[in-house]
Amino acid sequence: MPSWFALLIFPGFLYAVPMGWLMLWLERKILARLQSRIGPPFYQPFFDFIKLMTKEPLRRASGEDIFYLLLPLLALGATVGSLTLLPILPSSASAVGDLVLFVALVEVAPICLVLLGFLSRSIFGQVGAIREATLTIATNLPFITALIALAYASGSLRLMEIASNAPLATRAIALLALLFCLPIKLRLNPFSVANAEQEIYQGALTELDGWRLGLWELTHAVEWVALSGLIASLAVPWRSGQAILDAILFALLSLVLVVVLTVIAGATARLKLLQASRFYWRWGFGLALLALVVSLFL
């Protein structure tokens, strides 16, 4: 499969953007139904995006806009890039060490967010950026440890080989540890500390408006696809060989993850920065470490 196909069609832009919107909608719809509300129609995230993109933005100091354009685009590009590395189809391009590349690319978006927060020169943006940075560090320890455990157990840094070779016990524990990390990476309850509306408005995004916010929301939607996609693609060891079937299985698994994450978000209050960090260092890291130990001895 040519790499332009992966980047532009599947699982790249053409798949990731509508899928991201679908996931954002599903999150809102499930939350609404869990609260006995009607909830938005399925096209709502698309309309939100169009609305944000066509709004007249605030005038900013010259030269500032370039960052608001470049940083979300960089984050968007990197996140879509990380998607293309996912071992969904048997024919997916898989290079040596693409696991490391994946981690590097998926971390671009949080770093861009921290930069946006600091660049916004708003006190709320800066506090949000600090929180985002702290949480990124807290969550990456279990995130990377779990990935190392998977890589060690399957003896490869190739995502495709990890997906097909990782032993069951390690795979289950490590994927659970990865799942633990998703609420923080997607800024969901109970770890929505970095964008705690009632404390610091939208955190790092406070000063973003119009297309600047629209671009970021798009990135966020693709982040959903990439991160849930990582777990979905690593969860199933076998591939049917039929591209369509594999793609559908992957999409369905991703959506199941959205449901799980949303239900957890709907059933919890927001924790504090210290409590969230402590949770990740204790439980998230503990689980990831367990996966590593299991991979070492089994």
């Binding site: 139904r33 869990l34 006995s36 509300r37 009607i38 709907g266 059933a267 919890t268």
Partner: protein, 172 residues
């Protein structure tokens, strides 16, 4: 109940919210727009006296009085309805329509005072409700008297008193 049970219960129960144009009907005692039954109004301005937001004004001319009401200023407290001695005011038990500029629903009613059957001057008339309150039985004689202005009524009363005394003396 734990939060999980609540979530499950909500899911089982289904949607309870409504889409916009649908709405829950207001209760029987809903306090909507103030309505006036002009026939019953005596123009005493009690309603204007108790109105805190100056939504009701009563202005008196020589031959007419005006009762005006602006829902845009109204706080819908219902004190005018309570204060009305003749129960001429009512509140609509339905939601007021949506309007875009203040004063769009403002109303002004003018009521001409009836003319006295004696001298022809306009005067403030007692309404049906007040009549019934003052006289247990509104007889034809009372009706005739009430169609006169206070001055003529007084004259008429004196006349009938004199007449009565004359008849009394004559019978004695």
């Amino acid at each position: 109940m734990s939060i999980w049970e609540i979530l499950a219960e909500n899911l089982r129960q289904g949607v309870v919210t409504l889409r916009y144009p649908q709405r829950v009907p207001p209760p029987a005692r809903y306090r909507g727009l103030v309505q006036i039954e002009l026939e019953d109004c005596v123009g005493c301005a009690s309603c204007a006296y108790v109105c805190v937001s100056a939504a009701i004004h009563v202005t008196e001319e020589r031959e007419t009085f005006c009762w005006s009401y602006d829902p845009a200023k109204c706080t819908f407290c219902g004190r005018c309805v309570d204060a009305c001695p003749t129960s001429a005011l009512q509140m609509q038990a339905e939601c007021p329509p949506i309007y875009h500029c203040a004063g769009a629903l403002a109303v002004t009613y003018t009521r001409a005072y009836p003319r006295c059957e004696g001298c022809g001057k306009p005067f403030k008339v007692a309404t049906q409700i007040l009549r019934q309150r003052a006289y247990t039985e509104v007889s034809g004689e009372v009706e005739t008297l009430l169609r006169l202005c206070p001055v003529c009524r007084q004259k008429e009363a004196i006349k009938s008193m004199v007449e009565a005394r004359r008849i009394k003396e004559a019978t004695r």
